[in-house]
Symmetry: C2
Subunit: 112 residues, 2 copies
DNA sequence: GCTATAATTCACCAACTGGTTAATTAACCA
DNA sequence: TGGTTAATTAACCAGTTGGTGAATTATAGC
């Protein structure tokens, strides 16, 4: 799990347009034009976003006539997920505390 | 789960120095100076990284004399984790295929 | 060969990032 | 009070990012 790869993956995910593109690609392969449609954004802007995603290994591109369809590749997401998982105990810990607090409240309520 | 919050979290994680800071903070609260030590980087540069992390809600700061210790807050990591989890089936799917392939290889080996 | 469509490259721009050094603020200590 | 340490702010710089419009490339279809 290279640090540079994580840099690229997280940077790619840090933009809402790119996250939306990925969620669209989760439904299946698509042309650049179809990807661009929901965004009020020029075609070159979308091309740039696709370059970032491709460079991060999050999509793969092919050729079909004048179309260059995009396909989701989720492998880098697994690496990102593995990195974040290392911190799971920290957010679960705080939920445990919240949980304990809520139970404490409830215990008080039950004593009339 | 706000999009802006995800933007900030992923952007904060996209830098290796900031990831290293988080992993140091996983060991416990620390001063800025101690955080800066392992990096060949000026104090103001570290302060800037801490600002990014704080703005993303990934750390919290307190006061103790002339020190301003940092503490890990993992809640935004849970949101990021939740977002990525939506794509789990995509990377597991490909591992399933790899798994099937490996089993197929093995099956061939077992037939002499 | 001509025209329409899909997508990219190019040149440009404003804003942001990640770093620097120098100056400043804040607290401790003697 | 004055000196030391911790940390931040300020001013600056080079490189990257996210967008634009105009020109270019590539392919389909008549």
């Amino acid at each position: 799990m290279s640090s540079l790869q994580l840099d690229r993956t997280f940077a790619a995910l840090a933009d809402p347009t790119r996250r939306a593109i990925l969620s669209r690609l989760a439904l299946g392969e698509t042309s650049v034009k179809d990807l661009a449609m929901p965004f009020s954004m020029s075609a070159p802007a979308v091309t740039k976003h696709l370059k970032v995603l491709e460079h991060a290994g999050l999509i793969e591109r092919s050729r079909s006539a004048q179309w260059r369809p995009c396909k989701l590749k989720a492998a880098p997401l697994k690496e990102a997920n593995d990195w974040i998982e290392e911190y799971r105990r920290f957010w679960e810990q705080s939920f445990d505390r919240l949980d304990a607090y809520l139970q404490q409240i409830q215990a008080k309520d039950e004593k009339p």
